[in-house]
């Protein structure tokens, strides 16, 4: 520490010099109890010894009385702390005021107190006056009192600036320009003067104001629109994906804007799945699906893709590219498929053209020569 190095120089100095040095040290924001002790030792003289003895007795009496009153070691420590704080504060104030030699003596007396009272070393040291903090790998110390002073100065400056700004604004307000100005106009039969609006008006009868946009919320909460042909029970033709060209039955319009669809799986191999309505042609053939009891599980959440994140352990790393796992429906899906298929097939079997419908659903859609989808009716 810097303080330790400075100590030996002060060995043969007088009281005053010592006091001055203390001042400098304190201005450097590094007053410590240790230094005090050293200085005191160096500047031992008869007068001081006498004073010391007197002060010792006084303090011992005081502390002793207090200890007697409030028994317990903890209490004792507390008292010690309090006293230490008071002393340090008082000394600081006096030094800052740039006291004379006499006053320094007084201050020294009080410093002596600190030495004599034998409080724990951590009491007055740093805790009160300094704040330690790590900055760029080094411990730094701030003198609290100094920092507060600086802060107050800053605040004062800011307040000044604010007041200045206010004044400027007020001045500007006072100098408000008039909105309408009358200007003289030359020439005969021109009415001599005219009123001119300096500012744009808020309202003109011919002005079209842009309408405020309607807030629609999140995409997931948008209202979904389905083509009128896509009602539950219609037979659809799939146009995209693995099952394109196949005819399927529409079961439900989901809240996400997708269509819940099934082959049935027994007829054409299309499982329960969701389809975008733009990838579908709705036909006019419709099944009466009201009797169908769809499980409540069949919603958007059920069809969400589950992505499993693989954690490769260190020991298990291989050179070879791992085989990609092909999709396989889980047991739950298979079970639901069976439930839905059974009901749907019953509905189909009740249709007057049952045989043809079964064949129709299991057949693929295709275009022949001179058939154009935009001219066809579905």
């Amino acid at each position: 520490m810097v303080e330790k190095k400075s100590a030996p120089k002060e060995k043969k100095t007088t009281k005053k010099i010592a006091s001055k040095e203390k001042k400098t040290e304190k201005t450097e924001k590094k007053p410590t109890k240790k230094i005090d002790k050293k200085i005191e030792k160096k500047t031992e003289k008869k007068t001081e010894k006498k004073i010391e003895k007197k002060i010792k007795k006084k303090i011992e009496k005081k502390i002793g009385k207090k200890v007697e009153k409030k028994i317990g070691k903890k209490i004792e420590k507390k008292i010690g702390k309090k006293i230490g704080k008071k002393i340090v504060k008082k000394t600081d104030n006096k030094v800052e005021k740039k006291t004379d030699g006499l006053k320094t003596e007084k201050s020294q007396k009080k410093k002596v107190k600190t030495a004599v009272s034998k409080k724990p070393s951590s009491l007055a040291y740093g805790k009160v006056m300094f704040q330690a903090f790590l900055w760029r790998g080094k411990w730094r110390f701030i003198n609290k009192a100094e920092a507060e002073k600086a802060r107050k100065k800053k605040l004062a400056k800011l307040a000044k600036l604010k007041s200045e700004k206010k004044e400027i604004i007020q001045k500007a307000k006072k100098k408000k320009r008039p909105t309408i100005v009358t200007k003289p106009i030359k020439g005969e039969k021109n009415g001599e003067f005219r009123k001119i609006h300096l500012k744009r008006k808020n309202y003109y009868p011919s002005l079209k104001r842009p309408k405020a946009h309607r807030p629609r919320g999140f995409y997931s909460k948008h209202k979904r629109f389905f083509r009128p042909s896509l009602t539950p029970g219609t037979v659809l033709i799939l146009l995209a994906g693995v099952n394109k060209g196949k005819r399927v039955v529409l079961l439900k319009n989901l809240s996400s804007g997708l269509l819940l669809v099934t082959g049935p799986y027994l007829l054409n191999g299309v499982p329960l799945r969701r389809v975008q309505q733009c990838h579908v042609i709705g036909t006019k053939t419709k099944l009466d699906i009201h009797s169908l009891n769809l499980p409540a599980k069949l919603n958007d959440q059920f069809f969400k893709r589950i992505i499993e994140k693989k954690k490769i352990k260190k020991g298990e790393k291989t050179i070879f590219v791992p085989k990609k796992k092909s999709y396989q429906p889980n047991a739950e899906r298979k079970e639901l498929q069976k439930v839905v298929d059974k009901q749907l097939l019953e509905v189909i079997k009740k249709h007057p053209q049952k045989k043809l419908l079964l064949a129709y659903l299991s057949a693929m859609f295709g275009l022949k020569n001179n058939q154009y989808p935009h001219r066809l009716q579905f």
Binding site: T283, K284, T285, Q353, L356, A359, Y360, Q377, F378
Partner: protein
């Protein structure tokens, strides 16, 4: 030169029944009343719902039917002549009208209907082709041919023997 062949049989003339191919009265029949100019005619179809009006010749196809009424005759006379010739009936029975109707029917078929038609056609074609194959077999089966020849030979021998017997008797 009386026998000379007329190159055209249908003319733009009063009383010529006409099929409208374009405009708001598309698909309806009417008959020409008068020629307005080289490109357009006056037309009237009181029985088919076509009001008396001018039509461009490009909007019109001429049919083989013709009725008789005086040139520039009023709607009353046109109707009378139309009814007298029973043109509604004649037109609906014509191949033209039939094909026209079928075209519309085909266009109005739904996907399921188209599938059903396809199935019906395939069944019909199967039956037809089987029948055709049978006929072919009967005509060109080599075994049958030989059999037929054998029978013919037998018959010929029998005939000869019969003739011989009868000749002996004589």
């Amino acid at each position: 030169m009386r026998r000379s062949i007329r190159p055209f049989k249908r003319f733009v003339e009063t009383g010529r029944v006409v099929f409208i191919t374009d405009g708001p009265y598309k698909g309806k029949t009417c008959c020409i009343v008068d020629c307005v100019d080289q490109k357009s005619v006056l037309v009237d179809g009181p029985e088919t719902g076509v009001p008396r009006q001018k039509l461009r010749l490009s909007q019109i196809h001429l049919t083989k039917f013709k009725i008789n009424f005086p040139f520039n005759g009023p709607t009353k006379l046109v109707r009378k002549a139309w009814k007298k010739n029973e043109l509604d009936d004649k037109w609906s029975k014509s191949r033209w009208a039939e094909r026209f109707l079928n075209k519309h029917k085909r266009a109005a078929l739904t996907d399921f209907d188209r599938f059903k038609l396809k199935r019906a056609r395939s069944i019909r074609n199967k039956i037809r082709s089987e029948e055709y194959k049978k006929l072919l077999k009967r005509l060109y089966n080599p075994i049958r041919k030989t059999l037929r020849n054998k029978r013919a030979k037998k018959r010929a021998i029998l005939k000869k023997s019969k003739n011989a017997e009868s000749g002996k008797k004589k």
